[in-house]
């Protein structure tokens, strides 16, 4: 963890060598998702509700997804851009250093201009939490924190899976993009507005629903069945990391025996 912060510091220094491009990228990264939310707001002005959902509730879903996606792009970017590391041979360098590959890949790259997306998500989330119809309690506060932590873990897990693929193939990466970007776009809105099979897919196969939709039901006291299940559902995102890391280890072993 200490080493990770050192990596963070050196990358920040490097980024600040080019302040102009840093600020421009940050601003564009903030404006892009925000413009989408403005569009959604327009639709709400016209139609009032989206299914059973009010605007602040949708904004809550939206805010969480963009906040955690921003966090993972910022702090787990090393895995997101890992195929580069393999292609230019930098991964060999990581293997001759006495640290775990996970820390080193995480530390290999940070994307600080994603702070824009992150801040924007944070703002939207904050506004939504204040304006949504939530009866607050300690448990609900914990749930919000869990949503953010596990969302970060979930997207990092996606990045790790995507990275692992590049041990085998460079071309297969688009599949990963569909999952990550497609999943993100879908999960900006409460999952129940989609067909049943979509909800099931993103609850049980790719647990995206567990980081905003399911706990949102708990926040709004709309959960069916066991409330505790809905409250703790974000933990699935954290657990999701375990198989991802196992697969990653397999990938590293494969790399070492093929020399790709």
């Amino acid at each position: 963890m200490r080493l990770y912060s050192k990596y963070l510091a050196i990358t920040l220094k490097a980024h600040l060598q080019y302040p102009g491009s840093f600020f421009l990228l940050t601003i564009s990264q903030t404006l892009f998702p925000l413009s989408m939310l403005v569009g959604v707001h327009g639709l709400f002005l016209r139609f009032g509700r989206l299914g059973d959902w009010t605007f602040p509730e949708v904004a809550l879903c939206f805010g969480v997804i963009h906040l955690v996606f921003g966090l993972s792009e910022c702090f787990s970017r090393g895995f997101d851009s890992f195929s580069l590391l393999v292609r230019n041979g930098e991964f060999d360098r990581l293997l001759v250093r006495p640290q775990s590959t996970v820390v080193q890949v995480l530390g290999s790259r940070f994307e600080f201009n994603r702070i824009g997306r992150l801040l924007q998500g944070l703002l939207v989330l904050g506004w939504a939490l204040l304006n949504a119809d939530v009866a607050w309690s300690v448990a609900k506060g914990v749930t919000v924190a869990l949503m953010i932590i596990s969302g970060y873990c979930l997207f990092t897990g996606f990045f790790i899976l995507q990275a692992t693929m590049s041990f085998w193939t460079i071309q297969g990466l688009e599949v990963g993009n569909i999952l990550v970007d497609g999943g993100r776009e879908l999960a900006q809105y409460p999952l129940s507005i989609y067909k049943d099979w979509v909800v099931r897919f993103f609850t049980w196969i790719i647990p995206l629903g567990s980081i905003n939709y399911l706990p949102l039901l708990f926040l709004l006291d709309r959960s069916e069945g066991v409330a505790l299940g809905h409250m703790l559902s974000p933990l699935v995102g954290v657990l999701f990391l375990i198989p991802c890391l196992l697969v990653w280890q397999l990938g590293v072993k494969h790399y070492q025996s093929t020399g790709s």
Partner: protein, 326 residues
């Protein structure tokens, strides 16, 4: 120190024919070509030795280095460095080695060199006093003090290579792997890098494995050379022995005054080149001595200049490559 036994490695390379049709077929069925990069290679290296590892491109040098540094796992055979099996005990093992890939930097591109060193000393879990002491020594030996605060991207290649060497030695490794450390350097920088490698080997007793295509590097540094070709070890011994065995053919160049002469009378000597007033002869010194040849020549000719040369290490290498057809 290093024991490599019977190590083999085969790469499987996807064979992708050109053309759209072939590209589509390859999505479903891929054919692979198998390339034997290393074919039962065995050798050992002693502590403190500088080993020059040479061979043409694609001979398997990099593969051997990658196996010895734990980046790759061989298909067969065994490799132990200081008792570690590199790819099995990777994290513990690499604490004791330093690696320089001449073509790739290990420094952080956009920040001053010193920042990279600080991060590296954390990566190698060094105490700040220990790392400061080594850095001071290296700064002095490599004359780095003026470079430490410059971002890496602004350094010249020669300056950067000195910084790279320091980076690979910060943690006091016992083995130093140098993969083409002088590639692309100018003459002065090359000499400096060579001098430094020599000094650090003498002072710290670090074992050095050096691959290069520059035979002058080898001649200046290596106690011993290993020649690899098509995945097999073709020569393993000292440079002196190699030179001695190839010194049997010497070249004599003579210049003389009186017109065209015939040299056919001298035994065990072939004419490499001859024109009016100048001739180049190859002498098999196992059969006849150079002085005998010169004596016989001066009997029939009025010599103005005689020049005797033994083959350069470079030309010996070319001969070796040709002999082994690699």
């Amino acid at each position: 120190m290093i024991i490599v036994e019977d190590v083999s490695k085969t790469y499987r390379i996807a064979h992708r024919p050109s053309g759209w049709r072939a590209a589509l077929t390859s999505l479903i069925h891929r054919s692979y070509a198998h390339i034997q990069a290393l074919d039962h290679v065995s050798f050992s290296v002693n502590r403190g030795e500088i080993l020059g590892y040479v061979g043409p491109n694609g001979a398997g040098k990099s593969t051997t280095i990658k196996i010895m540094t734990g980046i790759l796992v061989p298909d067969g055979g065994c490799c132990r460095v200081m008792g570690y099996i590199p790819w099995k005990h990777r994290v513990d093992y690499v604490q004791h080695i330093g690696v320089v890939f001449g073509q790739r930097s290990q420094l952080w591109w956009d920040v001053p060199v010193i920042d990279s060193y600080e991060l590296l000393s954390d990566i190698y879990r060094m105490s700040s006093t220990a790392s400061r002491r080594t850095l001071e020594q290296l700064t002095q030996m490599l004359d780095l003090s003026s470079l430490l605060h410059i971002p890496v991207r602004q350094l010249s290649l020669g300056q950067r290579m000195r910084c790279e060497l320091a980076a690979s030695l910060l943690h006091n490794p016992s083995v130093l792997f140098l993969d083409e450390p002088t590639i692309g350097l100018d003459a002065v920088s090359k000499l400096r890098v060579r001098q430094f490698i020599k000094t650090i080997n003498e002072e710290t007793g670090v074992t050095v494995i050096l691959t290069t295509h520059d035979m002058n590097d080898i001649e200046a540094l290596a106690h011993r050379i290993m020649l690899l070709g098509r995945g097999q070890l073709l020569y393993d011994g000292s440079i002196a022995d190699l030179k001695r065995s190839y010194k049997t053919i010497q070249t004599i160049t003579v210049q003389f005054e009186n017109g065209p002469a015939s040299f056919e009378t001298i035994p065990h000597t072939t004419i490499a080149q001859s024109s009016s007033g100048r001739a180049q002869l190859s002498v098999d010194t196992t059969r006849i001595s150079v002085s005998d040849v010169i004596n016989q020549l001066s009997g029939s000719l009025k010599l103005t200049d005689v020049y005797v040369e033994s083959p350069s290490i470079e030309s010996i290498m070319v001969q070796l490559y040709e002999e082994h057809d690699i």
